[in-house]
Amino acid sequence: MDDMYGKGILKGLGVTLKHFWETYLDDAVWLVRRVTKGERRYLSLEGVAHRSSKDARGIFTVQYPEEKLLIPEEFRYIPFLVYDEGPNGEKTMRCTSCGICSRVCPPQCIWIVRSADPATGRPIPDPFEFQIDADVCMNCGLCAEYCPFDAIKMDHDYEMASTSRTVFNKEQLAKPASYYEAIRPINAAQENAARAAKEAARAAAE
């Protein structure tokens, strides 16, 4: 050993000391920000955003559940069914029970019962029942990716622990289009524009 024994340990301790010190240094910086701009380091959106940015230093823990990580638009958790609301509050499901989502679902957890027209007995678009076994769902997002009618989308609500089996039916899965637009504004706007363009093209062709 050509060097003093223990030097490496001291060097390493310097790193932990720096980490420790930076936590308090940042507290001081945020104190100033709080006075000047009203921004807080803890229990605030800007605080969490800072702690998950490249400038984070010192302690970086996000203290769930008081604090939560910011959710990006693409975040995906358990699908839901989108319905459009009419002017008088009537709900129209976008789903046409075409079955693509259920055929693409890797663990096969989507079950669709099609409705039949009582007069002719032929299948009609509106699904009679739509069930997702949320305990089997692997949150892969393929159903939402390949649904041609923008009818099934991935949710942002991840707090759904339960003590029993979780199977959602059509009523539980249905959420309004306005909710979808709220959680995924960019995607929703793109899809709405694409649908409008398609409609316009069809109208022009007729």
Binding site: T16, K54, R103, N139
Partner: protein, 579 residues
């Protein structure tokens, strides 16, 4: 080393007249070797042609043809394309093929797996026990005529979901107890299993050293529930005092037969399942699978997608390595401080994955012919920020914390040494191979994607001990940062997928073996398509699993407390080991 050797035209058929023929099936490649000549063929291939590295060994059940096939993929550790050879035997028990253990000791666990799951007996294997299922299990689950519990149909999608649509929960359909089939005359209530005797017998086969002292050897089981085993992994060890004289890894506690699931799935459905292999590096897993199926389909992703793929794969490597270093230090006794310093950087990378793919760990981001979606606004800046401003500084800091620490050095230098020859012999891959002095990296040896465009060095260290295996991960992280910096700078615009997104891809019949340099080592996929919607065979060359081949030999002679460090330095993930 860096330029792949030109493909030699090997006339192996002339060398072994009558017993070696080219594989002429449509979409297939390589040689078909008569089983009598297999060992001498392998010897020639290894010693005369330099294919010294057995990458993958697996079986395929060709039920309609009444054949069972064993497929070998061998490579040169100096780089270049590989060589494929196969042995075909009639599909009638006992199915027997000579073991390649004498030529490639790395065949050990892979032959055991093929025996376990496909029932191929490897004659001459010194320890042919089941490896993922337990001793006493009836049947071989990967055979095409074997059906799992809750079996519904041969291939997904199942009709009961759509159009039939009657919701039933699996547990109601086939209540517990009725969901398994027993062989005729078997009564589970009366049966007594003895899954361990064979293990202990094989464990006791070691060379006893005559020390002149009367010492008792003691058998200890570490795991499957042990804080140091990184999951449900078990080591059966025989100790002489505190010194290990024999060690066998025992795994399969997390086995779910990923490959059988994969053969029921459509090609696309497998993508999210690959996330669950090495669940710390799902992007790399996606990459390997996408590459393999793209080989079969003959599609090439557009430029932008290629760059995004590289960025994601390298970010994965960084996230994995800081995690691995942290956990190794946990195993060495530095409880959680270095670990959390590493995790801090990993969190920032996971934030990027989440923004891009929707999930922090189960990314499911790659698609055949591209990626699922473009980078959302602001993500590229984020990647730029961490790759240029933060990571280089933070990695230096982490290294300063650990590299010179005297306790870390005493515990790791010279411990658990794997020599270069042994690393190749045991088919070790990734950091484990490179820390032993073999600069073999698939990104250079047989570049895939656009890796040939980037400037980076293949990290290599020469002592093959725990310390080098830790330090090489620092080296690799630095190279990954270099690659990301170049990719971020050059990232072109344009489309992110080469074809219209379809959920039912057409995959022409044939076989393909695709491999990537995953964070844990060479990750290979062997996929056979028959032109149907599901793969006929879907096999994974799992680096964590195969790296364990060298684990026993590496540990012999060490103190029991150091075994934990050796395991940590291999860096395994049980999701991939057990599949």
């Amino acid at each position: 080393m860096t330029t792949p050797a030109p493909t030699q035209t090997l006339d192996l058929a002339a060398r072994f007249p009558g017993s070696v023929t080219p594989d002429e099936r449509e979409g297939y490649d390589g040689w078909i070797v008569a089983k009598e000549k297999l060992i001498s063929f392998a010897q020639v291939v290894r010693d005369e042609f330099g294919y010294d590295y057995l990458s993958s060994l697996t079986g395929v059940d060709y039920l309609p043809e009444g054949k069972m096939e064993v497929v070998y993929h061998v490579y040169k550790t100096t780089g270049g394309p590989g060589l494929i050879f196969k042995v075909q035997v009639p599909r009638q028990d006992p199915i027997e093929v000579p073991s390649l253990m004498p030529v490639y000791p790395g065949a050990d666990l892979q032959e055991r797996e093929a025996w376990d799951l496909l029932g191929i007996k490897f004659i001459g294997h010194p320890d042919l026990r089941r490896v993922l299922m337990w001793e006493g299990f009836e049947g071989h689950p990967l055979r095409k005529d074997w059906q799992e519990a809750f079996f519904e149909e041969e291939a997904k999608p199942f009709k009961s979901r759509w159009p039939d649509g009657q919701f039933t929960m699996a547990e109601d359909r086939t209540p517990l107890g009725d969901n398994v089939a027993f062989p005729a005359g078997f009564d589970p209530k009366k049966a007594r299993f003895d899954p361990e005797t064979a293990l202990y017998e094989s464990l006791r086969q070691y060379d006893k050293e005559e020390t002149g002292l009367e010492t008792d050897h003691m058998l200890v089981n570490m795991g499957p529930h042990h804080p140091s085993t990184h999951g449900v992994f078990r080591m059966a060890v025989i100790l002489d005092g505190e010194t290990i004289v024999s060690l066998k890894p025992v795994m399969g506690y997390l086995h779910r037969n990923h490959e059988k699931i994969g053969e029921r799935n459509t090609f696309l459905m497998n993508m999210p399942y690959t996330d669950r292999l090495d669940y710390l590096s799902s992007m790399s897993n996606n990459f390997g699978y996408a590459l393999t199926v793209e080989k079969l389909m003959g599609v090439k992703p557009p430029e932008r997608a290629e760059y995004i793929r590289v960025i994601m794969a390298e970010l994965t490597r960084i996230a994995n390595h800081v995690w691995a270093i942290g956990f190794l230090l946990n195993d060495l006794g530095a409880y959680f401080t270095p670990m959390l310093y590493g995790v801090e950087e990993r969190e920032l990378i996971l934030d990027i994955f989440e923004a891009v793919s929707g999930s922090r760990m189960m990314c499911n981001y790659f698609r055949f012919g591209g990626v699922a979606r473009d980078l959302p606004e602001g993500t590229l800046e984020k990647i730029h920020g961490i790759a240029f401003d933060r990571l280089p500084r933070k990695i230096d800091e982490l290294e300063r914390l650990l590299a010179e620490n005297e306790i870390v050095r005493t515990r790791s230098i010279g411990q658990g040494v794997l020599s270069a020859e042994d690393a190749i012999r045991y088919s070790a891959a990734g950091p484990l191979l490179r820390a032993s002095g073999i600069p073999y990296d698939v990104r250079r040896a047989e570049p895939y994607g656009i890796y040939d465009r980037f400037e980076f060095d293949v990290a290599v260290r020469y002592n093959g001990d725990i310390y080098d295996r830790m330090m090489i991960r620092f080296d690799e992280v630095r190279q990954s940062i270099r690659i990301i910096q170049q990719a971020v700078k050059d990232l072109p615009g344009g489309p992110i997928t080469a074809m219209k997104p379809v959920y039912q891809v057409r995959v022409p019949a044939g076989e393909a073996y695709g491999r990537v340099e995953g964070p844990k080592g060479e990750l290979g996929y062997y996929v056979i398509s028959t032109g149907k919607s599901t793969p006929w065979r879907y096999h994974i060359r799992a680096p964590s699993f195969i790296n364990l081949t060298a684990f026993g030999p590496m540990c012999t002679g060490l103190k029991i407390a150091d075994v934990v460090g050796v395991l940590g330095s291999i860096d395994i993930v049980l999701g991939e080991v057990d599949r």
